[in-house]
Structure formats: structure tokens, C-alpha cells
Amino acid sequence: MAQIPNLDNAPLNFTSLREQSQKELINILKNNRGKKCLIIDPKLGGSLSLIIQTSLLKEHGVELRHLSAEPIQTDCTKVVYLLRSQLDLMKFICSNVHNDISKGLQREYYVYFVPRRAVACEKVLEEENIHHLITVGEYPLYVVPLEEDVLSFELDLAYKESQVDGDTTSLWHIAKSIHKLEFSFGVVPNVRAKGKASVRVADILNRMQVEEPVNSSDMVVPEINTLILLDREVDMVTPMCSQLTYEGLLDEFLRINNGSVELDSSIMGAQQDGKKIKVPLNSSDKLFKEIRDLNFEVVVQILRQKATSMKQDYTEMTTTTQTVSELKDFVRKLNSLPEMTRHINLAQHLSTFTSKPTFLGQLDMEHTIVEAQSYDICFEYIEEMIHKQEPLVNVLRLLILFSITNSGLPKKHFDYLRQG
């Protein structure tokens, strides 16, 4: 099964969005003729894997590399960088180019910023005195269809950037993405925003509509009726609690990235050990679609039920004589066998985590905190977690949850925890 999700049933034509992005990328490759080394920043590589197959890139004479400070190992004279416009990535380009210069290698460098050029980044190149060697372009990838009903802006640090650093780039990015969508699906007539940042996004979006009006005449009925923008801040409780659905638990323990999890192949029942494999998780997998949002306990039951019924079918198969149509039905059921195996393996792996007392203890504590039952018990529990040197993220999650549900901690306690 491909990692690229199937979007045929999407309420909007996401396929065309994805094809558009695909085409733009291929155009970039086509414009630089001949063999070339494409260097992708790893995070972006994840997003791209949802848009285009590697094989398609290879068809266009591409040698694929991940961005790093290591010297580029390639015979190609053309080097195409594809990266997010972030300052920390620039130093890799600089070190690559300087390395080539010191070796006397002459190459053509192309840097494509995703989704657009940034002055700050180009300034770095200028300061390093390599800007004149580089042709700069843009690859306007603003949204990635993750699922037939989910588009992702791929801004994983947006909350931190805007809340902690006050860097509102992400807000502009979001507005721009929506504005771009409006070019495909018509201007959204109703926009509702909750929270400061969302209101700002709506403002910027409004501005963009004035600056670059979407030609509405050829679009009679806008396909999107209402846009609802929500600040993460509106509900900080949910993300601090453990997720308990099947998909949520997969994410908690195995980290879902770009619609897939990476784990040891032994877990999935493969022979060779120690090798990592990627397991795609999206609604193209019918079984996953059915169980992803269910509580894990229920999922286990369903899987069991399915396995049992399959077994029953199988026994019936071996014992009695069947008509051809019944045979056909049976075979059809067999087709879902790989999916079954996959999820049973995953569920089994998950249950090794969920049965741990620490996990259950943590769940209990989350409950206690959310119900705001006893301040002292919770406080002590968190303190104990710190003493036990539990992973910082777990501690912080509970602490934040605790702080929110109590409208902040007393200064005395806060200082005490800080000291500890």
C-alpha cells in the first residue's frame, strides 16, 4: 500500500491540489535539464512523500540526498536544494558550497525555498559570499493533503514560534494557504475565528482578498461554505492528556509522522531483525479507517471478533462443500488478511505499553487532575515524577495540565518545582 493517501472520496477536490503540487515540483526539475542532485531537508522530505513517489523523481534524472553538513557526494554538476526557508538550514548549504569551492569543484546550485523565499535566509547566503553562485527559486507548497478530510500546513513549530517567540510568520503562512485554496474552491463566504491568533489570520486573509482578489465570477457557488479558525490556546487541556484512541496511542508511543509510523520490522512479523520499516496509516486502509478513532480497548475486541469470524469461515471452508459464489466471498475476505495482520501486530505492540502500571498510573492522574479533585495528591504525584526522573515531556504535560486546571500554580509551588 502506498504512503500517498487515496483522496477519491474527499469532499473537495484534493487530488487536483496534490497534482498541482506534483506538477510544480516536476517543472522545477524539468527546468534544470539533465542529471541533478536533489537535496531535500529531511522534514520537508516527509511532507513530499505524501505528494510524490520517489520513483517519479528518479524518472527526472534525480539523485536524492538529505540535507546535511556533509560534503555532497555526487557526480552531478547540478545541485538542486529544496528546503523550508529556515535560518538553521542555511548553514548546511553554506558548508556544502564552501566544501566544493575548497575542492575546486564547479557546480551549478539552485536553491528552491518552500513555500517562498525569505530575506533572512538569503542574507545568510550573501554574508557567506555564495549568493552569486546560487539561483534562487520558490516551490509554493503551502498545504499537503494528509487524508481525504485533512490538509496539513506542515507547521509543526507554529505554536511555539507565535506564542513564545512572538514570530507570527506561521499566521501569515496559514492565511496564505487558505487564500491559495480559495483560488481553487472559491472565496469562503463565512469566516469564524476564535482566539487572538485566529482573528489575526482572518484579518490577514481579508487583506489578501483585497490585495489579490480571487476572480469570483467564474466560480458561481463557493465550495467551502464556512471557515472556522481556532486557536490552540482555546483548549490546552486536550493535547496535554494522553490520547486513547487506536490512532492516538500509535502516535503517543510510536509517533505518527506524515501518515506513517516507523518501527522494527520484527514487530510486524518480518524475519530480518533490526531493520526499520515504515507502516503507512491512512484511510485508504479500510480497516484502519474503521478503527482509527475507536478506543483502544474496543479496537482489540473488534480485531478479535474479526479474527474469530475469519477463522470460522475458514473452518466452514474446509469442512463443507461450497458454491462458487460463496468461494468468491471467502476469497474476498481473505484479501483483507494483510490489513488484519498488520493491525493485530500493531495492536499487540501497543498493548505492551498500555499494560504498564506507569501508563495506567498516569492516566489515573490525568483524570484526577482534570476533575480537579485533590490538589495535594496531584502535586505530590508530579513531584514524585520529577524525583523519579521520568521523561521531561511527560512531566511537563502533567504539570501544564495541572496548571491549567488550577488556573495557574501558586508562586510558592512554582518556585519550588523550579528549584527541584
Binding site: L87, R117, A120, E161, R200, E211, K388, Q389, R418
Partner: protein, 839 residues
Amino acid sequence: MSKPTDGWEKLGDRYYRKIQLYTSVFDEDIELENYIISGAPYSGALALHRDESKIRAFRGGDAARSSIDIYSSAGKLIRRLDWDQGIIKGLGWSEDEKLLVVAQDGAVRCYSDLSDDFTPFSLGHEAEEQGVVECRFWATGFVAMLGDNRLVEVSNYVEPRPRVLATPPSDEVMSWSIVPPAYSLSRSVEVLLAIGQTINVVDVNDSEDRMLQNGPFRHICVSPNGKFVALYTEDAKVWVISSDFQDKLSEYDTKVKSVPKDMQWCGNDAVILAWEDEVHLLGPNGAATKYYYDSWVHLVPDVDGLRIFTNDVCEFVQGIADVTEDTFKVGSTSPSAVLLDAVEQLEKRSPKADDNIQLIKPNLIHAVDSCIAAAGYEYSIHWQKQLLKAASFGKTVLDLYDSDDFVSMVESIRVLNAVRFFEIGLPLSYDQYIRLTPERLITRLVARHEYLLAVRLSDTLRLPTDRIYVHWACEKARRAAEDDEATARLIVNKISTQRGISYDEVARVAFDEGRTHLATQLLNHEPLAGKQVPLLLSMDQGALALDKAIESGDTDLVLISLLHLRQKLPLASFFRTINSRPVATALVEATARADDREMLKDLYYQDDRRNDGAMLLYADALAQKDTQTTLARLRPALNLLQETKDLAPQARLVEDTAKLLRAQEALDADESLRPPSAEGQEPQQRVRFKGLPLNETIYRLFLMGQGKRALKLQAEHKMSERAFWWLRLRAQVAGRSWRDLEEFGTKTKKSPIGWEAFFNEVLGAGNSKLAGSVFVPKCTGLTPRERADMYLRCGMIAKAAEEGAKAKDGEFLESLRGKAQGREVAEVERLINVLAKGR
């Protein structure tokens, strides 16, 4: 009424016509024989320049001033460009009506939009040394011939890059011509040089002799489609050959002694020769006709024909299109001709009209199509109407007919008639119009400042009008005599009615003209911040630019503004500027954190943000490799924090860090803590303490069995007992120090973290025996029932049963039955019995 066939000439099997476009073109004072004339493609403007090589009457100072005059085809002076750059050796046009002027020293000026704005470039070193002799132009470039016969090519005017072609022989060049890149085999320009008897073909790579023997050729000319070459030989003959020099297509003997002054192609199948006042039109297969004029004649070739200029008239010579010929030729029986006749009959109310229709009924669609097409080729409004009438009459008879062609042709004809009007002077033929495209026609009108017509035509053709308005506004900003306020109002009033017009271009023009106030006024109306900001910056309105950028929410723009401000302003006032703008401050901080920490420190200092400043120093200090440096750098951070009371907790943190670092340094230096290396193995990598948190440091010490040092650290740092106990417990469990734990468990009475923790950790590590036997009994605070469970988890059924009995939980005991083994079974049974009796 004139006949449509007036002025038709039959040459061989093709008809040609000469159409008089305009009369009294040039002023009598202009002696055309003394001028170089160059005309823009698609019936564009004419550039006239006094030929310096010809003698002229001295007329005093003013007239001696050299200029290039731009005229319309109707002889209206559009612009006069002053010229003071020496002798002009090349005067030509690009297809988008850019005027190219090449001076002898290789300096080129490219005037766009028929205005006096130009972009200069140079043909390079060789041209400067050798001097330019002559130039030949094509749609998007030109070739200049230098004094030593070398050729320099410029293939586009956007980024002109002069390129020297292969070196040809240095003998005298009799005449020369070019094949434009679009029509050459090599897809780059080829130059034909008539040298001696033969012709040399020169391109980028090499110069090839075509081995002809019929030279010398006095004129050489390549047809517009690059397929044919016309040659004028010494013995007054014109040869037409294919451009690959393989076939000779026709030959014509002029029988004139003098060499013609010009030879040009008229379309792709006729050649025109011009003497002073005589013109020969040569059709295919050597057929020819002659025209005579009263005065000097100039030829201006175009894609589908040729314009002839004299002082009096401007005429257009072209081959007649097949549809026109079919429709109008005397005695034609083609369906279109019959249809046209039918309309005439209809006007006479003659029943023959219907006869005609019946006659061509099977071909009626074709007839209508032909009439529509023929209308396009017609210059006379009467015949245009007549043909269109015929077409529409024909349409009525047809059951089904797609009228799109008809409608668009009517539109085209209206446009053509409008621009052919003598005040506009763009005598486009239909083919030229199609090739030029309506968009570029509008651009040409705008360049001629014919705004009203441009807007009207755009409306008719449903084309965007914004460029027209912008151009108009730019002109206003440049030339309006009113003050800035009034001009701004005028411009805004006019263009605010249009959607999506960008003001930045206008504002930039205003700014370039030195009307800063006007520029600012206009910019306020610019909706696109992306355009506002850069201009404001170049106008040195940094703060305003910053505000606009922030308003737009586009952080990249904000950064651009900030970078600009940072360069322009002293640091202190830069800080003041961003201080009142939190978004800007945040961005400065975010970027400075990555690349300019010193500035960030200054910023925090200036803003009295002690905490932030101290944290920055703190992070910096910790990043140092050497502990002493780190300690030294922690000092200023601490000083900063101690300045106010509010920050006491932070100050204490920094102090603690310093203390811890010192202790860690001592630990790292202590050789006795080096892990013993097992025999035959590599010495283990020493784990450094430096930089670890206190917890981790103590934990490690315990792991290493350095309890005393851990204790010392705890005391120094006033670590809470509980935390300390936890660390010890976990370290001991991790180190599998079961004996220590057991000893500790039996000896110690009270635990600040309770004994359950011990039980859980030990059990979690797999030592159920120790957990059960030592630590469960210590959990005196729990109920017997809970203890029973704990025993059960250790697998100590007997003990569990005992506690279960204490808790009087019969059910629990029952449940143990199944789990008990060996001696335990009896014990469980006994307790069940005891409990049962007790009831």
C-alpha cells in the same frame, strides 16, 4: 463607388495590390532622400534620422542639432529624441516597438514605449575598437557589422549579451543580410555576407563559403519566413533562390543601368526594388510591374507586405489573399462571389438574389466563411460592410451556423478601422493584427498616449484595462503641472474606480521625478503591502514601511524593513523604533538569537529586560566548553539578576548552577572516579559530569557507589530528602545493589518517600523476593488487604493469604486457591477455614 479590384496587378498567377493608406504624410521641408528611415514591424512607428553622410544646406544652429524623430505611418510626429552620441550606424525596431539606436562606438540605446526613457548597453570591446559599420535587425535582436567585418549579435534586449560570431573573410562586403534565429536551421542567427563573387554564411561557430560564381551581389535580402533569398547581381538581374542555396527559383532582368538603392521582400513571394522614384514589383517566376513616383521613395518591409513612403503618400503593397481573389476577381463564380452578388441583387430588390442562393446552396457555409474572411482583408469600409452583409444574409438561409467567427471578425474590423484612422496611424493589416495580438496593440496605443481609444478597445475586446490606467497615471505623475495634492487626487479619483490597480508603479515614477509627497500619497492607496514596503524603503520612509509591513502580517516584509532600518539607523534609535512595535521586536529577537547575540544583549539592556538578558548570558555561559569560562560568564548574568528583588529565584538558580558546576569540575578531575576498566577491554569512555543536572549527578554518583559524595552534594544544594531518597533508590535498583537495599531496608525505620516506592521499584526491576520479604512488611501504613495484593504480586501466596485473613476477605482467599502451589495450598485452606469459623 470604386471597384474592389482597383489597383490590382496580376504577376504571373498571383494578384498584388497597392493600397493608399495616407496622403500628405511628411512635411515638404523634410527631404526624405537625406534621411534614414526605419519602421517598426506590424505597421508600427517610423524613426527618421538625418543621414550624416549626405551633404545638406546649412540652416543655422538649431537645425544642426541631431535628433531622431518618431512618426506614425500617417506622418504625425510622435516624439523627437535628442541625439548627441555621435554618428548613428544602426536604427531599428524590435517587434514590441522598442527603438534601438547603435552608435559608431558600439554604444546602444534601447528606447521603449516610444518615450525618451532608454536603457543603454554596449556591444563590447571589439565594437569600440573597430567601430560599427552597419546593423541588421530582426524581431528580437540585431547583428552589427564592425570595421573589420566581424559580426556582433545581440539576441534579446531584456538582458542584452553581445556575442561575437565566427570571423568572416576580411574582404570588402558588398551587401549583407541576416536569417533570424527563428527561421535558421541552427536556431541561432545566420548572416549572409556577399564578398567578391560569392556569399559567406556566418553563424556563431563558423563562416562558410557557399561557392557561388555569379557575384558580386549588390543587394541581398532574406524573405520574412527565411525560406528564400533575393540577390541583385552586377548585371542588373534579380535572382530568387532558396535559402539553402540549392534551387534557383526565378530570375528577372531589370534592364536598368543604375543599381537600385534598396531591395526588399514584399511578403514571402514578391520582391520590390526601389530606385530614387521608381519601384519594381517582382512576382513569382520573374513577372514584374513598375510604379513611378514624383519624389524619393523609401521601403519599409513588414511580415505580409511592404510600406512605401514618399513625402506625399504612404502606400501598402501586399499579395492578395485567396479568398479576396475568389470573391472579387472579375468573372469569379466562386460561392462567395455569388453570395456577394446575391446581396447586391437583394438591395436592388431583384428575385435573382434567391436564384443565387439556390445556386450555391450546397457551398453556402463555405461562401459565408469566405465572405467573413475577405472582409478582414478589406481596407475599404464600404466593401467590408458589403462582405459582412453578404455573410449575414447567407447565415440567415443556413439552418445551423456558428456565428463566433462572424462576431469576432466584426470586432476585429472595428478595431482595425479605429486604429487605421489617420490620427492614430496604425495601418495594420488583418494578418498583422492577428500576429501582433490585441494585447500588444493596446500596448502600442498606450505608448502613443491614446488612452481613451485603448480603454474603449479593451472594453470591446474584454481585455484588462489596468495597465492603461497605470500608464496614464505614470504620465500624469511625470508631467502634471498641478501641485502634489491635486495630482494625487486626480490620479486616485481616476484609478480608484478600477479594481486591482497597483499604485506602486505610479508612486515610484512620482518618486523618481522627485515628487516624494505625491509618491507617499499614492502609496497609501496601494493595497499590496509587498509593493508598498520596498518603495517606502527606497524613499527612506523606514518606520512607515515597517508599520505597513506589520499591518500586512507578512513577516518577510517586516524583516526586509528591519534589515533596512538596521543599516540606516544607529543602534539606539533602531531599538527605539522597534520598541513600540512588539511584532518587530519579536522578530528581531528571533533572528538575532540565531545570528547576532551581541545585538540582542544590547536590546535587552536598553529595554531593561533583565531576565531575558540574563537568560541569554546564562545560555551563552553554559555553551562554553571550559568550566572556568562558563563560571566567569555566569557572573554578569547573576549581577544582572541581582539588580532587582523580583528576580531573586532566578538569581538563586544561577548561583546554584555555578555551585554545581564547580562541584562537577572537581568530580570530573577526580581520578578515583574513573570507572575501572575490565581486563582485555578498552578503557571505558569516561562520562563527564559537567553540564548534567543535579539529579543526574547524584544519581550517577550513587551508581558509582559514591554515596558520601552524593550526600555532600545534597547538603550543599539543600536537596529535599525525598528527592534524594528517590535518586538513591533508583540508582540502587538500576545498579542491582540488592544487598545494600536489603540492609538499608532492614536497618532504616522511616522513609520520607514511603516504603511502597521501594516495593514498586524493586518489584519492577524483577526482584520479587526482596520486594516481598523486606519491603511489604514495612508498608505499615497500608491496609492488610492492600498488603495482600502486594504479596500476591510478588508471588508470595502464603503471605498474601495471611494478610487476606487479617482483612477477613473470604473471597480473596478463595481466589488464591487456584494460584497456590505445594505447601501454600494447605496454608490457604487453613486460613479459609479459620475465617469461616470466625464468622
